[in-house]
Symmetry: C2
Subunit: 145 residues, 2 copies
Amino acid sequence: MPVKNPGLKSAASSTVEDYLERILELINSKGYARVVDIAAALEISQASVTNMVQRLDAERLLKYEKYRGLVLTEAGEKLARRIAHRHRLLTEFLKLLGLDDRVICHDVEGMEHHISVPTLRAIEALTRQLRRRPALRAQLETALV
Amino acid sequence: MPVKNPGLKSAASSTVEDYLERILELINSKGYARVVDIAAALEISQASVTNMVQRLDAERLLKYEKYRGLVLTEAGEKLARRIAHRHRLLTEFLKLLGLDDRVICHDVEGMEHHISVPTLRAIEALTRQLRRRPALRAQLETALV
DNA sequence: TAAATAAATTAGTCTTAACTAACTTTGCAT
DNA sequence: ATGCAAAGTTAGTTAAGACTAATTTATTTA
């Protein structure tokens, strides 16, 4: 089934989004993202990462020199940031629903690539409202017995 | 990336879920689901449908006789119903957020396969609360300008 | 009922994105 | 400086799930 992925109107597949997300995380936390670290983070082989990294270089989302490492391009970083932001918003939303971290993590990782900008905005607004209505959140929790 | 699909703790992939969903829809609306109709509904070739239908038969989610048609098994129908139900709950939820039908349709089709049972329950509870709080819904709509 | 059309099937191909195994490069420790 | 381990790369394979083209079966209509 050719299910498109226009969530961020980038041409990025879910897979590409996952890579960018992890790469940005690594850069933020360690200052760099090596093939071996990306592979560990995504729980896939180094070979797969090498392939994808070369592809992302071809797509100008990062600059890669063989054996020497990579840096995100302007475009790549921008995209990665938006992906990370979307991830955070979804996580916060589910957190407010009282779900546990394991479930949140799993579901967000699955859904995040499929959420369009308008839906994300709506969820963001809802999250804000939910945040200031503890009584409503309490209602939800009791419903989850 | 080996992203599992434990939403309904069935072994069904997203693709299988899509097929079952459409097959049930067809059966509900026309009384039967032919290869040609499934293909049209999913916008894929008849050949692809034939393949999948044979696989679903092997997995005992439906019974299929070459050239003669198919019926869902008990297990297949049960699963299909749960998939359809999840689809409806998500659609209703997004509807209450004031999103337009195109967006809802797209996003639900993407997300539905990745929502776990606990998350679905939480969203269901939230939907109920949202339904009885028009003021809150109005707040959301104004935030979506 | 026979021809024409619609539906279904088969066989083989393509793409994406994983994998393993084998090899190369780099960097560190002696 | 060399040798070993860690990191990275290449080549070739696999699996899911699409596709087309060719063929077969079923159905409709003249």
